[in-house]
C-alpha cells in the first residue's frame, strides 16, 4: 500500500477501485514514455478518472494531502513531461469522447483524451480536418497532449501549430477547490465555442504549451477546415548541400505557393544518406545524394488548382534542384506517383528513426528558427557539436536536423537532436549534454515547442527569463496552483520558495551567441 494511504482511499471513493492502482507492476508500466534518457520514475498512485468532476475531486484530495499530480495524455512525449516520481500520475485517456462535430460552423468539441487519429478519422468521414494533424505520434497522442506541448505536426506548414487551431479549453484548475473553467467563447454559456478572443483576455493561452503545469485539460474546442480531397507527394533534391539555398527556396515557396502546401519537409543530405543506408531493399544503382531533399505534400480542392500549384513548385525548384523519389533509394517506399495520403504516413513518419537497432535513446532538440537564419544556425550547430564532441556520450550521433518543417509566417521547425547508447550508465551524460545543447540553442535565438521537463528546465538554465518575467510566471502559477501540486520540477519550479534564477548555467562555450544569435 502506498504511503499516501488516506489519499488513496479517498480517490478510490471517487473513481472506483477499478481505476486506481498502486501496484508495482503498474508503476513500472508507467515509468517511462518515449524518453529513455530519463531515469525510470514510479508514481505512488496511478489513476484513470473518467470525467472533469472526478478530476476535480482528485485535485481537491491532492491539495488536502499536498500530493503532487502529473497529468498524462497519450504518454508519447519525448521530453519527460508525463511521468512522475512519487505523487499521483493521472492517466487521462478515459476522457475519449468526441462531443460535437459542427460541420456548418467548422468547430468541434472533444474530450482531451481523444487521440488525434480517432478525431481525424471521424472528421475525414465528413470531409473535414483539424488542419494540423497533431504530433507525429498521432495514433496515440491525445488532443490535450498536443495543446500542452504546443506541438507541430503534418499540416503545420499550412495550418500552424496545434494551439493556433484551438478555440478554447475546459480545464480543472489545481487549486484547493478544483475549479472547472472554460476559456474563449466556450466560457460564455450562451455562446457556441466558435472563437477564442473577445470574451476576456486570452486565458486559453495560459494553458497552451504549459507542459501540464497550469491546469488539467479536460475538453478542447478546435477549429475545423474542409479537407482538400486532392493531395500529392512531390520531392526534389537540391543540387548543392547549401542551407542558404534552403532558406531562399523556403522564402519563395512561402511567398508564392503558401496554402498549396499542406507540408514542406526539408530532409538534410546526411539523413537521406542514412535512409539510403538503412533501406532493406535497395535499387541496383545507388543514387548520389547531392543535397537536402524537399518533400512536399501539396493539396487543393480541385485537381486543376493542384496542377497549378505543382507547376509553381516545379518552377521555383527548377534552378536549384532535380526531381527525386524516395523509391529510388528504397524500393520499399511507395513511388510518389502511386502515393496516397493515409494517416500512417504522418503518424509513423518519425517513429522508425527514434530507436534504431541496436536500440538507442534519443534526446530531441526540436525548435523553431526564422527561415532566413537556417544556414547560420546550421553552422553554429556544427561548431558546437565539433567543440563538444567529447562531451557527448560515446557512440552518439548528433544531427542539426532530422528535418526542417516549414511553418507559416517565415519560420520553421528544426526537428533534430542526438542519440546515445541506451544504458543506465549513459543516461546521466546524455541528459547533461541534452540540457547543454538546449541552452546553446536558446541562446542562439531558438524557440522550442514541446517543453516537458528537460527542455523547460534547460530554457530556465539558459537565463533568458528576465527577473520580471520569472516573477510574473511564478505569480500566474500561484494564482491557479497555490499549493504547488501540479507538475512540479518543470521550468525548474520545485517550490514557491525556490528561486529559478539559481538554476541559470553560465558555462557555454559559444558565449558570443548571447549577443543576438550570431558570431
Amino acid at each position: 500500500m502506498t504511503q499516501n494511504a488516506g489519499a488513496y482511499q479517498e480517490v478510490e471513493q471517487i473513481v472506483g477501485s477499478q481505476y486506481i492502482t498502486d501496484k508495482d507492476v503498474m508503476k513500472a508500466a508507467y515509468s517511462r514514455n518515449v524518453d529513455p534518457a530519463f531515469p525510470d520514475r514510479w508514481a505512488d498512485i496511478i489513476v484513470r478518472p473518467g470525467s472533469p468532476e472526478e478530476i476535480s475531486g482528485i485535485v481537491q484530495i491532492a491539495n488536502k494531502y499536498m500530493i503532487p499530480i502529473v497529468p498524462r495524455g497519450g504518454g508519447s512525449d519525448l521530453v519527460g513531461g508525463a511521468a512522475s516520481q512519487g505523487g499521483i500520475l493521472m492517466d487521462l485517456t478515459r476522457l475519449n469522447r468526441i462531443l460535437e462535430i459542427n460541420e456548418k460552423d467548422f468547430y468541434c468539441a472533444v474530450e482531451c483524451g481523444v487521440t488525434w487519429a480517432a478525431l481525424v478519422s471521424e472528421l475525414y468521414k465528413r470531409n473535414l480536418t483539424t488542419g494540423v494533424l497533431g504530433p507525429g505520434s498521432g495514433f496515440s497522442a491525445t488532443i490535450g497532449g498536443g495543446l500542452s506541448n504546443s506541438t507541430a505536426g503534418f499540416g503545420s506548414t499550412k495550418y500552424g501549430l496545434v494551439p493556433e487551431n484551438c478555440l478554447g479549453v475546459e480545464v480543472v484548475l489545481p487549486n484547493p477547490t478544483g475549479d472547472i473553467i472554460r476559456t474563449g467563447a466556450a466560457a460564455n454559456k450562451y455562446a457556441a465555442p466558435i472563437c477564442r478572443y473577445g470574451f476576456a483576455p486570452d486565458f486559453s493561452g495560459l494553458f497552451m504549451g504549459d507542459a501540464g503545469t497550469m491546469g488539467i485539460k479536460t475538453k478542447a474546442f478546435l477549429k475545423l477546415y474542409p479537407n482538400p480531397p486532392f493531395k500529392i507527394l512531390r520531392n526534389f533534391m537540391l543540387n548543392k548541400n547549401k542551407y542558404e539555398i534552403v532558406s531562399e527556396l523556403m522564402y519563395k515557396l512561402q511567398s508564392q505557393v503558401a496554402d498549396g502546401m499542406h507540408d514542406l519537409y526539408v530532409v538534410p543530405r546526411e539523413v537521406v544518406q542514412l535512409q539510403q543506408g538503412m533501406a532493406k531493399n535497395r535499387p541496383p544503382e545507388a543514387v548520389r545524394i547531392k543535397g537536402p531533399v524537399f518533400m512536399f505534400i501539396l493539396e487543393a480542392f480541385d485537381s486543376r488548382i493542384l496542377d497549378i500549384v505543382e507547376e509553381k513548385v516545379n518552377q521555383i525548384m527548377a534552378d536549384d534542384a532535380t526531381p527525386f523519389d524516395w523509391h529510388d533509394i528504397d524500393l520499399d517506399e511507395v513511388p510518389a506517383k502511386d502515393w496516397k495520403f493515409t494517416l500512417r504516413f504522418p503518424y509513423n513518419y518519425f517513429n522508425r528513426y527514434v530507436s534504431l537497432l541496436p536500440s538507442r535513446i534519443s534526446c530531441t532538440t526540436c525548435h523553431k528558427i526564422p527561415v532566413s537564419k537556417v544556414a547560420e544556425k546550421e553552422k553554429l550547430t556544427s561548431k558546437f557539436d565539433f567543440i563538444h564532441v567529447k562531451d557527448y556520450p560515446p557512440e552518439s550521433a548528433a544531427v542539426f536536423a532530422r528535418s526542417l518543417h516549414l511553418l507559416p509566417n517565415g519560420h520553421c521547425v528544426v526537428a533534430g537532436g542526438f542519440n546515445a547508447v541506451n544504458s543506465d550508465e549513459q543516461h546521466e551524460s546524455a541528459m547533461n549534454m541534452w540540457h547543454k545543447k538546449i541552452r546553446f540553442q536558446v541562446r542562439y535565438g531558438a524557440i522550442h515547442y514541446w517543453l516537458g521537463e528537460s527542455i523547460s528546465q534547460s530554457i530556465v538554465e539558459s537565463g533568458v527569463y528576465s527577473p520580471e518575467y520569472a516573477r510574473f510566471f511564478k505569480d500566474m502559477k500561484h494564482v491557479v496552483d497555490p499549493n504547488f501540486i501540479l507538475s512540479p520540477n518543470k521550468f525548474h519550479m520545485h517550490s514557491y520558495d525556490d528561486n529559478i534564477a539559481d538554476h541559470i548555467v553560465e558555462d557555454e562555450v559559444l558565449g558570443e551567441t548571447k549577443e543576438g544569435g550570431s558570431e
Binding site: R32, A117, S121, F139, L343
Partner: protein, 404 residues
C-alpha cells in the same frame, strides 16, 4: 546482456535484442485509422475490456519486460494476473512501426513467470494434463478418435496406413462434441475432392500450443517431440489442420524448436484453396449471407487472409465486418485467456459478435475451433440469431459428392 541476466532470464535472453526496441510511442493502444485498408478501429481488445491501465496493452507490457530485464521489477503473482489477461492476438505488433513480434516477448515473460513459480493455477492444470494425458482437456487420449465413429466410411490411420497428407485434427475439434463436425466435414471435403489422407486419431498428441502460449515451454517440448516423431513415422509430405492454433504451432514453432522438423504444414483452407483453384470442382452457392472472422493464429500470426475469402466468395454472399484481416478484432479466447479469465474472453467475444451482427449476415464463419467455441458462447450469451459455423462445414455443403 550481462551473464547474470542471461542466467536468470533464460527466456527473455532469447529476445533481448528487442527488449529495448520499443520506444513507448503507444501506437499499440488504440490506433484508429479510417484511411487504412482495411480500416483500423482500435488495437487491443484486452485494453478495451479491462480497466485500461498501461499493462493491459502492448506498451505497458513492454515496459514491464524491460523493467524485469533490468532487474528493477521482480516477477510476481500480480504481474502474472495482468500478463495473462492478453489473448496474444498480436494486434499490437501489427500497429507497431518497428519489425517486432510483441507476442514473442510476452511469451518469453510468461516463460519466466512459470519458471519462477508464478503461473496461474488453471494453466498449470492444463499443462499437467498435457504432459500426463497428451491433451489439455484432462481427457483420456484414447477418446481422441471418437469423432471418427460418426463417419460411415473408414479413414486411413497413421502412422501405419500411409498417405501423402496427414490431417491433424487438434484437441478442441476432436474432444468437443459440438465441434466434431469440423473434423467430420474436413474428412468429407477431402474425400469429395479425392485427396488421399490419413489421420492419427487416438494417437494424435496435442500440438502444445496452449503450453507454449502460457509459458510452459517444457510441457510444450514434451508433446511437440512426440508429435514430430509420429509425423515423421507417418512418412507424410504435408500436414494439414483445420485449427488455427495447431497451424501456427506446427508451422512456426515446431521448426524453431526442432530444426529437423521440415514437413510442409498448411491450414486446411490454404490447402483446399489450392486444390479448388487447380481442380475447379463444382461448388454450389448456398445462397446465404456470411461474414468471416479472421482467427489471430491464422491471420496476424501466419498471414492467411485471402484463401478463406476466395472460397467463401464462391459459396456464400460474403459480407465483411468493419475490422478484418490484419486489423481484425480478436475473439478473446487465445493465450490462455478463456481458461483463466473466461468472463473477459466472453466479453471480448460479445463485441466481435456485435460487429458481425451489424453486417446482417446469417452465418459467422471462422477457421479455428477455439474461436468457434468462444464466439458460440458469446452468441448464446447474447441470444444472437447468428449461426456460428466453420468454413469447412459450409464447403462440405457446397461440394457435390461426385463419388456417389
Amino acid at each position: 546482456m550481462t551473464q547474470d541476466q542471461g542466467e536468470e532470464f533464460k527466456h527473455l535472453s532469447k529476445v533481448q535484442k528487442y527488449i529495448l526496441q520499443c520506444i513507448g510511442c503507444g501506437d499499440c493502444r488504440e490506433a484508429t485509422d479510417i484511411t487504412a485498408e482495411p480500416p483500423k478501429s482500435g488495437v487491443c481488445v484486452a485494453r478495451e475490456h479491462s480497466s485500461g491501465f498501461e499493462p493491459f496493452f502492448g506498451r505497458g507490457k513492454m515496459q514491464i519486460i524491460r523493467s524485469v530485464w533490468e532487474k528493477k521489477l521482480p516477477l510476481s503473482k500480480d504481474m502474472a494476473e495482468i500478463i495473462y489477461q492478453c489473448p496474444t492476438c498480436n494486434a499490437c505488433s501489427e500497429a507497431c512501426a518497428y519489425d517486432m513480434d510483441n507476442v514473442e516477448l510476452y511469451e518469453a515473460l510468461r516463460g519466466e513467470l512459470v519458471d519462477a513459480g508464478y503461473c496461474l493455477e488453471k494453466h498449470a492444470d492444463m499443462s499437467r494434463s498435457l504432459v500426463d494425458q497428451d491433451n489439455p482437456y484432462g481427457r483420456e487420449n484414447a477418446q481422441k478418435g471418437d469423432w471418427l465413429k460418426a463417419l460411415d466410411v473408414p479413414v486411413k490411420r497413421a502412422p501405419d496406413e500411409k498417405a501423402e497428407v496427414l490431417y491433424f485434427v487438434g484437441c478442441t475439434a476432436a474432444f468437443t462434441p459440438e465441434l466434431q463436425s469440423v473434423a467430420t466435414s474436413t474428412v468429407n471435403v477431402l474425400r469429395k475432392l479425392g485427396i488421399d489422407f490419413t489421420v492419427l486419431a487416438d494417437q494424435e498428441v496435442c500440438c502444445g500450443s496452449v503450453a507454449l502460449r502460457t509459458g510452459f515451454c517444457d510441457a510444450f517440448e514434451s508433446v511437440a517431440k512426440k508429435n514430430a516423431a509420429l509425423i515423421a513415422e507417418s512418412g507424410v509430405k504435408t500436414v494439414i489442420t483445420s485449427c488455427a492454433g495447431c497451424y501456427r504451432t506446427l508451422k512456426r514453432d515446431y521448426p524453431e524448436y526442432m530444426t529437423d522438423f521440415n514437413v510442409k504444414v498448411m491450414h486446411t483452407v490454404e490447402f483446399l484453396d489450392q486444390v479448388i483453384s487447380e481442380n475447379k470442382p463444382v461448388l454450389k452457392n448456398l445462397g446465404v449471407k456470411a461474414t468471416y472472422h479472421d482467427p489471430c493464429h491464422a491471420g496476424r500470426h501466419t498471414g492467411i487472409y485471402e484463401e478463406p475469402r476466395r472460397i467463401l466468395a464462391q459459396i456464400v454472399d460474403l459480407v465483411e465486418m468493419p475490422t478484418i484481416k490484419e486489423n481484425a478484432k480478436c475473439c478473446g479466447a487465445g493465450g490462455g485467456v478463456k481458461k483463466a479469465f473466461p468472463d473477459l474472453a466472453l466479453e471480448i467475444a460479445k463485441s466481435r459478435v456485435k460487429e458481425a451482427e451489424d453486417t446482417g449476415a446469417q452465418y459467422l464463419v471462422s477457421i479455428c475451433p477455439f474461436c468457434h467455441r468462444n464466439l458460440s458462447d458469446a452468441l448464446n450469451a447474447l441470444q444472437s440469431p447468428l449461426i456460428m459455423i466453420d468454413l469447412i462445414e459450409l464447403l462440405d455443403q457446397a461440394l457435390e459428392d461426385e463419388s456417389k
